[in-house]
């Protein structure tokens, strides 16, 4: 029989997303609360000593890395999408490989390569004289380069996706309107890929702000590193909270700006025929130039570090590093990462769905709340989750659950970044036609919306799996006693400069990330993604 409905009452989905958002924002609120109720003397002490230096270090590093990844990411995506040259298909996915290389792995390899008495310095001094210094991995330029080499694939992948989905007609129209050859690039193509660039840079900057692995190994004082130091060596949770508050404020300002910017330049697919741009075939000189550019970036970000890891691993294995303990670490890492990624996709779905398909003020606010977690640096997320659990669910203290919650709070934004565009592909008509065919809202979700967004969600899962595999500070602070992961082993041994001992675990993290990464950039995946939008 027919039933009447009212569309104004909040649906159950809406309630779920509200509760999820509250749960995700709780740790952030707790940190803010602790910081704001701190004694004024603690504040003034920090303002007069640490804060100015830490702020400057953090902001300049974020800016430096953002500019570098922008240049690297956009130029590489452009080369890969618009030019045809021998080896292009290999480079196309090879350039995503640095995503499998955690910052602390890259940092520890470069600390050795560029460090005092390292091979690069040795080579430089034979060339330039015994007192020459090329660049220190502990300085601003060194840290910036290392971080940028590790994070540029975020920009590269997102911009490449946008360029592949860009309808050529836009550029042709600009040409027909009398624009010169380069004007369409500036006036049409770049504005159209701006949302992808902004989204990629958002990922990069948040990543830099909350990175702990590289800065801790390179001893570069940023806010995040300082928070960890306050917690572990001084046990000063109040000071840690105050420093965290600064981070949270910075991140929120940035997130709001980015959102606003993306809302304004939100673009839609053209209706009718979709055509992608044809690739321009590069001549011999062009090929040499393009290939050498791509090779240099790839070698620096992945090739050389991977070669070093392999060499060290062989040495370590011959010394008997592969024992039962080692296989335990492997299981711990992959188990945690898979659980966290699944949990995050399930939790992120209602948030991203409502924000994309019913973008009311409330739903957008819920989504923003979910992004707050990424702004919490690993140590802070760990601290907040830990204190909340000891307060409300002490039974779970010291279990994997606490760790999983911290992972989800921390890494959900990475997944949301790819879930949202996927959901935006679901047009209202496709959902409406399912309704005319007798589907309820729930059936429509299961039979139409979910299959359509599947690829975007696979991408989200992969990204979150990768991030969790590499996660260091929260794991350091929250792991159950004796529950070491691969990442923990790498960091512990690299801190002591046992490069060979750290290598097998580091290499394995990289290798375990590879199949997931291949999935992300494989032809099949891209083909289906295009099929859905065209």
């Amino acid at each position: 029989m027919l039933t009447a409905t009212r569309s104004h009452a909040p649906s159950s989905l809406q309630w779920i997303s509200l509760v999820t958002a509250a749960f995700l924002i709780l740790p952030t609120c707790y940190i803010v609360y602790v910081a704001l109720t701190a004694a004024p003397t603690v504040w003034s002490r920090l303002w007069s000593t640490r804060i100015p230096e830490l702020l400057w270090n953090t902001l300049s590093l974020a800016t430096g890395v953002a500019v570098t990844t922008l240049l690297l990411g956009v130029s590489l995506a452009w080369i890969i999408v618009r030019y045809e040259f021998p080896g292009r298909r290999i480079w196309e996915w090879a350039l995503a490989l640095p995503l499998a290389m955690p910052t602390y792995v890259l940092a520890y390899v470069y600390a050795h390569l560029l460090g005092l008495g390292g091979p690069v310095e040795h080579w430089w001094q034979t060339l330039m004289g015994p007192d020459a210094r090329l660049l220190s991995p502990q300085g601003f330029v060194g840290v910036t380069l290392i971080m940028a080499l590790d994070t540029f694939p975020f920009v590269y992948l997102l911009v490449r996706g946008a360029l592949l989905n860009l309808n050529l007609s836009f550029e042709e129209v600009a040409r027909v309107c009398g624009a010169s050859q380069w004007a369409p690039l500036r006036r049409v193509t770049l504005p159209l890929i701006r949302p992808a660039v902004a989204a990629g840079l958002a990922l990069v900057i948040l990543y830099v702000i909350s990175d702990f692995g590289a800065v801790s190994l390179l001893r570069y004082q940023t806010l995040t590193y300082a928070v960890y130091q306050q917690m572990t060596s001084r046990y000063d949770h109040t000071a840690a909270s105050i420093l965290s508050l600064l981070l949270v404020v910075m991140a929120i300002i940035f997130l709001v700006t980015e959102r606003w910017f993306r809302q304004r330049s939100r673009f839609y697919q053209t209706s009718g025929r979709y055509r992608s741009a044809t690739r321009r075939r590069a001549g011999p000189m062009g090929t040499a130039f393009l290939t050498s550019y791509v090779v240099v970036v790839f070698a620096a970000a992945f090739g050389i570090p991977a070669a070093m890891l392999i060499q060290w691993s062989i040495e370590a294995v011959s010394q008997g590093a592969l024992d039962a303990r080692f296989f335990g670490f492997i299981w711990n890492s992959s188990f945690l990462a898979a659980l966290a990624a699944c949990g995050a996709v399930i939790i992120g779905l209602p948030l991203a769905y409502l924000a994309s398909c019913r973008p009311s003020r409330l739903n957008l606010a819920c989504l923003q709340a979910a992004y707050a977690g990424y702004a919490l640096p690993g140590p802070v997320a760990a601290l907040a989750v830990l204190v909340l659990f000891t307060q409300f669910a002490p039974v779970l203290y010291g279990t994997v659950v606490v760790l999983l919650v911290a992972y989800i709070v921390h890494f959900l934004p990475v997944g949301l970044q790819s879930m949202e565009p996927a959901l935006q592909q679901v047009t209202p008509n496709v959902e409406e036609v399912a309704r005319t065919l007798g589907c309820t809202t729930r059936h429509t979700l299961r039979r139409v919306t979910l299959p359509l967004i599947r690829n975007g969600f696979i991408a989200a899962w992969v990204l979150m799996f990768l991030q969790t595999m590499k996660e260091l500070p929260a794991t350091l602070l929250l792991r159950p006693v004796g529950f070491d992961t691969l990442a923990i082993r790498v960091w512990l041994e690299a801190s002591e400069e046992y490069y060979q001992l750290a290598a097998p675990a580091a290499l394995l993290i990289v290798l375990l990330s590879l199949p997931a990464l291949l999935l992300l950039v494989s032809k099949d995946w891209r083909g289906r993604a295009q099929e859905v939008v065209s």
Binding site: S7, V433, T436
Partner: protein, 389 residues
């Protein structure tokens, strides 16, 4: 549907109860729109006071320029838009009113969207069978088979939507909508994404198919040729209001408003004055069908196929332009007063621009409207049709 009073959770007002009794008295009407208004913004209604009825097996066309609200009506019938006033009754049951909103999936309607909205992740076969998931696999198979034959899609069942041409995509959308044997099929500009040759063939096919399956359908279009060739009755809409609701022939020959007259085909409006029992105009006298008082200023609508031209030396009117349309020549003629009329001549009658001509007017379908006349608004003009003699 059982034709009893509609079961609604909020049918408490007397008005609803009365409506329900009224509805139960109607037979064979599949859809009834009663004074329906919809508004996206409270102050600016998208459609207002639309009343019409669709009978079993009938094909109705909603015709109007873009932005006239025809798609809004379709979406209100489908249950995608709320009505702000009035009610929609489907198969004798109240489905939409300001406080009743039966969800789309319970309305038993089929819909073909302008962009077809095929599910990109499903093969043709699965697209068609989408709404049949409550049936067994063999039953699904049988229905899909029938529809593949009916729509001429046999052999394409394993393709994905992006591997089909526009016409094929449209037929898949149609088959998918028909699979559930909807009580009413809604088609939103179904031919607008096809090239013209293709569209006219698809029109004939669709018409035959709807007749064959005895499907009741509402088709939205901005193309009067399409409306005339498809519809049993046409509802002409302008600015959210119903201008005229009648058979295609009546709409063309006896338009009730200047808007309709102009929209459904080329029409000229010639000013005239009532004298005795005739209307005197520059191109001749017409019967005073509205029995207006002598001295009243009126305009006469006349269509190009009622005006014929004969080249005559020394005549006052002359040819301004000729437009060759293949099957006919349309001449633009300037009268001595400066007024312009059009004439449709055979494809082979070719005269030079500037030729002096005499007019022969056959007043089979002229219509009178009182002045002043504004072809785009209709408030001033009431029903003023002159019956063909």
């Amino acid at each position: 549907m059982n034709g009893s009073a509609p079961h609604t959770q909020s049918g408490k007002t007397t008005a609803t109860a009365l409506e329900a009794m009224d509805i139960a008295g109607e037979r064979s009407s599949v859809l009834e729109l009663r004074e329906v208004s919809c508004a996206y913004e409270p102050k600016r209604p998208a459609v207002e006071h639309i009343t019409s009825t669709v009978h079993q097996g009938e094909i109705l066309c909603l015709l109007g320029p873009s932005g006239c609200g025809k798609t809004t009506i379709l979406r209100a019938i489908a249950g995608f838009e709320r009505v702000t006033a009035g009610s929609i009754v489907l198969s004798g049951q109240l489905v939409s009113s300001p406080n009743v909103m039966v969800p789309t999936e319970e309305r038993q309607i089929g819909m073909v969207f302008q962009e077809y909205a095929l599910f990109p992740h499903l093969r043709v076969e699965k697209n068609i069978a989408f709404g049949l998931s409550h049936l067994s696999r063999t039953q699904q198979r049988a229905i899909v088979d029938d529809l593949l034959t009916l729509t001429g899609l046999r052999g394409l069942e394993q393709r994905y939507p992006h591997e089909l041409s526009g016409g094929q995509q449209q037929r898949v959308a149609l088959a998918r909508a028909l699979a559930l044997r909807p009580v009413l099929l809604l088609l939103d500009e179904p031919f607008s994404n096809l090239d013209p040759d293709m569209a006219s063939r698809m029109r004939q096919d669709l018409h035959a198919l709807l007749r064959q399956t005895k499907t009741t359908a509402i088709l939205v279009t901005h193309d009067h040729d399409e409306a005339f060739s498809m519809a049993d009755r046409v509802a002409v809409l302008n600015r959210g209001r119903l201008e005229q609701f009648d058979t295609p022939e009546a709409i063309y020959h006896v338009p009730t408003t200047p808007f309709v007259a102009d929209f459904v085909g080329q029409a000229d409006f010639i000013s005239g004055v009532v004298a005795n029992d005739v209307v005197t105009t520059e191109i001749g006298d017409f019967p005073n069908t509205r029995h207006l008082a002598t001295g009243t200023n009126v305009v006469v609508m006349i269509r190009p196929d009622d005006i014929h031209i004969v080249p005559t030396k020394g005549a006052n009117a002359h040819i301004l332009a000729r437009q060759f349309k293949g099957s006919e020549n349309v001449y633009t003629i300037q009268l001595p007063s400066g007024q312009v009329v059009h004439s449709s001549e055979s494809s082979l009658s070719i005269y030079q621009t500037g030729t002096a001509i005499a007019l022969r007017v056959v007043a089979t379908h002229t219509v009178l409207f009182p002045q002043p006349l504004d072809a785009t608004t209709t408030e001033q003009a009431g029903p003023a049709a002159a019956s063909p003699p």
